[in-house]
């Protein structure tokens, strides 16, 4: 989690000494896998945020309009997991 955080917020901190520490916990293949994962998430979340679309389903599993979904989920992302249907 710290590695992903640094890539986004403090890339200057990623140097040889940092990699030495990182390799105590992750292999090079795992570091590449994390990078690959981030590649499809970092930019797209920002892009999707500009499009202002909302989940198609309510926490209890109903198909809802975008207007209702906006009312349910609000402008700021927050987890409604506790209200989710089993």
């Amino acid at each position: 989690m710290r590695h992903v955080d640094l890539i986004v917020t403090d890339p200057d901190a990623i140097d040889a000494a940092y990699y030495k520490e990182l390799r105590q916990h992750l292999s090079d293949d795992e570091i590449v896998e994390l990078g690959n994962f981030l590649l499809f998430n970092l930019g797209y979340h920002t892009f999707f945020g500009t499009l202002k679309f909302y989940p198609m389903f309510s926490p209890d599993g109903r198909l809802v309009s975008q207007e209702e979904s906006e009312r349910l989920y609000g402008a700021a992302p927050s987890s409604l997991q506790a209200q989710a249907a089993e």
Partner: protein
Amino acid sequence: MSFIEPLELDQIEDAELRDLVLRSEELGVPGGTFARIIARKPEQAKATLSVMLMKFTEGNIDHRLKEIIRVQLARFAEDPHSSALRSNKALDMGVTEAEIDAGSGDYEDSEHFTEAEKVALRYADQMFLDSTKVDAAFYDELKKHYSEPQIMELGAFIALFHAAHMVMRSFGAPAPTAH
């Protein structure tokens, strides 16, 4: 040398992945170093390189404009490797270093770009500098110049390559000595 060592071509056993690596090298973008680093995870690398090559070279947005936007994003991410790469396809189409530099600089006042190209450059610029400015009014402005499919093509391209440059910077690859 990058923090993660790129694989040699003969270390890549999957023929489809090897072909994608070679295509990345031939185009010049995302380049062989990036492709050979992510090749350490072959199945993921095949998906990533396929999507990157498709989003960069196909669609209904001028490839030269995409290359100018790509370099703007690479410089914004301070990724020395991707900043130094050039699309051979865009070079063949006549893109110049003056246009590329203008796209990363004061493009709003540049004579190199049409209004449509300027708003596309602004889209990439604002998406990661201050995405709150990419609001309904901004999308209305984009729609004066581009269809909705073209806007989605631009947005998805910008999102993917911005992230790729941030990730490539984390791999620590220096600028190539020649391209």
